[in-house]
């Protein structure tokens, strides 16, 4: 049995200090060439999370 219980509910809580990330921005990370020429997974991960989790200018 998994630790993520699907019965957990989702709520709508817009904490809008979060940067809005567009599809375009995400595509720019991934759509750069064939799958076998992509950078290592960890690099891609850091690029994606930088879009979502970067410091918001105070």
């Amino acid at each position: 049995e998994g630790i993520l219980d699907p019965s957990d509910r989702v709520m709508d809580d817009n904490q809008d200090e979060n940067p809005v990330v567009t599809q375009q921005q995400l595509s720019e990370v991934f759509d750069i060439g064939p799958s076998f020429a992509l950078p290592p997974m960890e690099d891609i991960f850091h690029q994606v999370t930088a879009l979502f989790g970067s410091k918001v200018s105070a």
């Binding site: 998994g2 989702v10 997974m41 891609i44 991960f45 999370t49 989790g53 410091k55």
Partner: protein, 447 residues
């Protein structure tokens, strides 16, 4: 009808990944086997896991095997061998020997007809290469529902763009689940390769983000339901992906999906907490830094401040935790995660007398990882624990002395954090003289 049958058989026999239909139609199985077997042998030299297929798919005997004359059980066993071979050959499809070997499966076992979905998914990460339209050109008229989005490409024999595949993954739940299932299946068999995992993680991340964006439109109640549907559909894959050991790329791919879901999905605290625990459970040196990045995003969206005890326990054991936090803080917001950890560690200290977290708390404050307000709360919480220490209880001697030296170190900090600590100390209702006596130390308010 016999001549019609013959014609149909001939047409079926002309489907090939390598030869023009006219040439293919005229080839004997003996000829095809010789050519394809050569490719298979080369694969065996590259990776000895291929050798087991010498027994069945590539045996001499295989030349005589006809699906239509096999029982259902024999066919099912054949399918399982075929899927196992395809999973393994997936990482090699840019090599000619691999295509030659797959050609045998097409010609002899008609995988393009009998295993259409599995074959398509195996070739999908190579959708930009000419081999993909070649595969499309030999597919039967009726293809499985999850791959109907390829119809225009089957007609034009053009390679589908990545955008098309992402679009399919976000609008066609059957396709998304086919892709997820395939990746987990291949990982379970330890047949994964970097391009497959990068392809899967990328497509699913973009698709998930797009689905969550779309679920935002409409009435609020409908929004919540849609959002929940998107998340619930992905949870089983994430659960299994995070539980699988020794596949760092799969784990990091799951972290990426979890991060996007947290950042876009508006997950509730219970789910965020469960996800945080799943993130750290089973992480390794290869994955703990991306894991921390993921945790910091989850923490940022979580309402509750204090981290759950189990999570704090794992973090406490993580080597160089504070320097990883510092590294992370250069580009990311790490304050909520650091603060949540400090609160959990203070809680452990007060409840269990566990002093192991004290150096981490001190360093987190010292390295300026918290906001002034967060730091003030942590200092007050520490003072409160100190106040509650029973000075007559000798078993608490260790807690007393370590707490005292940590507090002294904190009050002596340079820079603005030092001022915050000293101001907090002045600010509390706690009788500092009494506390100093209790801790047998001087908290140096005057410095």
């Amino acid at each position: 009808t016999d001549s019609l049958n013959l014609k149909a058989q001939k047409a079926a026999h002309s489907k090939s990944l390598i030869f023009e239909p006219r040439i293919a139609a005229s080839q004997s199985f003996d000829t095809i086997y010789t050519i394809c077997y050569e490719g298979f042998q080369e694969l065996c030299l590259l990776d000895d896991r291929f050798i087991e297929f010498q027994r069945n798919l590539f045996s001499e005997r295989s030349q005589e095997e006809e699906r239509t004359q096999m029982t259902a059980e024999e066919n099912a066993n054949l399918d399982s061998s075929l899927e196992s071979f395809l999973g393994l050959v997936g990482g090699r499809l840019r090599l000619n020997p691999a295509i030659k070997a797959v050609e045998w499966l097409v010609r002899r076992f008609r995988i393009h007809e009998y295993n259409t979905s599995f074959v398509l998914t195996t070739f999908l990460p190579y959708h930009t290469l000419p081999i993909f339209p070649t595969l499309l050109s030999i597919l039967p008229t009726n293809i499985p529902a999850q791959y109907r989005f390829l119809h225009p490409y089957i007609r034009s024999l053009a390679p589908p763009q990545r955008r098309t595949i992402v679009q399919a993954a976000s609008s066609n739940t059957l396709f998304a689940s086919t892709l997820n299932t395939y990746v987990l299946h291949v990982c379970r068999a330890h047949q994964h390769y970097p391009a497959l995992l990068a392809f899967w993680a990328g497509v699913m991340t973009e698709a998930t983000s797009s689905m969550l964006d779309k679920s935002r439109s409409g009435r609020r109640g409908v929004q919540q339901q849609n959002e929940q549907d998107v998340i619930l559909r992905l949870l089983p894959t994430l659960n299994e992906g995070l539980a699988m050991k020794n596949i760092p790329d799969l784990r990091i791919g799951c972290y990426m999906l979890v991060s996007v879901m947290a950042a876009k999905g508006g997950l509730d605290d219970k789910l965020l907490t469960a996800m945080m625990e799943a993130v750290v459970l089973g992480w390794t040196v290869d994955t703990s830094f991306p894991g921390l990045v993921c945790l910091s995003i989850l923490a940022q969206h979580r309402g509750a401040k204090q981290l759950p005890g189990r999570l704090a326990k794992v973090l406490l054991k993580t080597q160089n935790l504070v320097s990883l936090f510092v590294q992370l803080s250069e580009s990311r917001r790490v304050d909520k995660l650091a603060n949540g950890l400090c609160l959990a560690l203070v809680h452990r200290l007060g409840k269990k007398g566990d002093t192991a977290g004290l150096p981490i708390i001190t360093q987190i404050v010292e390295k300026d990882l918290l906001s002034d307000a967060q730091a003030a709360v942590i200092i007050k919480a520490l003072l409160l624990v100190a106040h509650q220490v029973d000075s007559s209880d000798s078993s608490q001697g260790d807690v007393r002395s370590q707490l005292a030296s940590s507090l002294v170190a904190l009050t002596q900090l340079q820079g603005s954090m030092g001022s915050v600590v000293r101001a907090t100390l002045k600010d509390t209702d706690i009788d500092i003289d009494e506390l100093e006596m209790k801790l047998h130390t001087t908290l140096g308010q005057d410095s």
